[in-house]
Symmetry: C2
Subunit: 327 residues, 2 copies
């Protein structure tokens, strides 16, 4: 493979001149530039991108932290984020935490060691104190990491309200909602609070079922669904994320319970998983493509040194009427 | 942030000495090494990983090329691959082609420009001639890219055979299988050939339904499912990938057709999607975690300069009996 020295020798110029041409940096006479470009073509020289990036102090890589990519919400978020990053000239590094706190620490370290230019994080494993002293580009999805880090989320209050209204409208008397651990400061907790309050206002029983901490694998959902189907055979209303809703519809069908005849259900997220069960599931959709594009935009602002005016971005949710609640 | 120069100044040594200590390369007196390490701790110095990697001629990054990450097979493959790469000390760059040939070219270029140390590719967009002259580490999942690139796949012939047997055993008379474009040289085509031959041997009608080229989004599957449900209302046996099977079960349920009463179905892949429908779907499972670990192993062999003896690795499939075919 040809080196920069070979190019310099062939073009009869110094290495620094070749470097200036490649990096489009500093003055080079038109005639000299032509000679260098000709030598590059002739030798089929490819600049070592690592060396180029070191020179420009950028890697061209953004790390996206998620719990696990096989979860439909995160796979769709990664898909959309990768698409926008690609358009911005960045490659996407996928960083799953697999429930391990030390993984998240390791990924933060990638940023400190300048192996990536920025981080978009949708994970919740590490204490936020680890983020306090990081002054490099970070955007948080659905998590408050401190006033110096922008946070992007949907209007989860509205999401909880729309879900509760659908079940109330359907005449449910005993509903269950699946919640994650509230110890994490996430805007998404708000949907559970609003949901519960609204359900109770209407004199309806509300059970909060705590799912496994950071359990995002399908096996976690199906065992939770089995547990619920056994413990609460008389529930008639359900509010759960898409994939949890799929598991629960399966577990209840196994026991002869059919939706909407025996119970009603509203799912949350609006990923492809929400479109699998029949009858069509009533769903609160998060605008995943828009979440991704806002996250990338805020990260680019930081990378390119622009000032961020609004640190808390809230996007709208959308109610999709299905056949699993009364219309 | 402290620089290597600061460390050298504090430790009263030269920059080259600090570099030798950091990179554990070349002789440094124990006493001097202590002084350097003390200065590093004192100044809270983090070496720039890009510079280190440039020195070691490695990036610590592997690119995994897939059509799109929201497809359950690819999201599970990425999950397992990332897990194994992490254990090997590598980060995973996700490279989706989104149906664009130039994306695949761009990703190959990452390897040429030494932005990644190797590629694991599960995509089919680019002509294989682009791979002919690449002498850097590559492993192909389910695709033959040339005799110099190892190919990892399951025993798809066996997969097709097991699927056909299940539908024959169930007494089907008119079956449909969903196939991708055969123009691509992929070991996975074999399952369709074996399936069709075996079905026909038993005097059963076999329809081959060609799915959209590189259509891996859920919308592609659900429109194919609608089309099939309209065009072939009298099919009584189906062989399709998990996510296609999910779509078809939905489309047929919408028309009052219930499995296994009105038709039988066998799905392929064994991802979480195959566990969503009820009754439980009979499935031919690919060992995704094992595929990932073999791919990573073969890539590490190339990165570390070991000779690869077997260029075509074939893993076993597993038959999972569900309730959508006769047992």
């Amino acid at each position: 493979m040809a080196t920069i020295q070979d190019v310099a020798r062939t073009a009869h110029v110094g290495v620094a001149t070749v470097s200036r041409v490649i990096n489009e940096n500093g003055y080079v006479k038109a005639e000299t530039k032509d000679k260098v470009l000709r030598a590059i073509r002739e030798l089929n020289y490819t600049p070592n991108e690592m060396a180029r990036n070191l020179y420009h102090k950028k890697t061209g890589i953004v790390a996206v932290l998620i719990p696990v990519v096989s979860h439909p919400f995160f796979s769709e978020f990664i898909k959309e984020t990768e698409k926008v990053l690609y358009e911005e000239g960045y490659q996407t590094m996928i960083c799953s935490t697999f429930r391990q706190q030390n993984y998240e620490e390791h990924y933060l370290d990638l940023l400190n060691k300048q192996q990536v230019d920025g981080i978009i994080t949708g994970v919740h494993t590490l204490d936020i104190k680890h983020y306090q002293n990081i002054m490099r580009p970070i955007v948080a999805l659905d998590r408050r990491l401190g006033s110096h880090i922008p946070c992007v989320a949907v209007n989860h209050e509205k999401g909880g309200e729309l879900a509760a209204e659908a079940l109330i409208r359907s005449g449910c008397q005993k509903v269950i909602q699946m919640t994650g651990h509230r110890s994490v400061s996430s805007p998404s907790n708000a949907r559970h609070e609003v949901f519960e309050a609204l359900i109770k206002t209407h004199g309806i029983e509300c059970i909060n079922y705590l799912t496994k901490w950071n359990g995002f694998e399908y096996g976690d959902y199906s065992s939770a669904a089995e547990d619920i189907a056994e413990k609460y055979p008389d529930i008639d209303g359900v509010f759960a994320t898409d994939i949890m809703a799929c598991s629960l519809i399966h577990a209840l069908a196994k026991r002869g319970k059919i939706c909407p005849r025996d119970y009603k259900i509203v799912s949350y997220d609006g990923t492809f998983a929400s479109r699998i069960p029949y009858p069509c599931v009533t769903t609160i959709e998060q605008p995943i493509a828009e979440l991704a594009s806002v996250c990338v935009g805020l990260l680019m602002d930081q990378i390119q040194g622009r000032i961020i005016k609004e640190m808390n971005i809230q996007l709208d949710v959308h109610f999709r009427q299905g056949q699993t609640t009364a219309s």
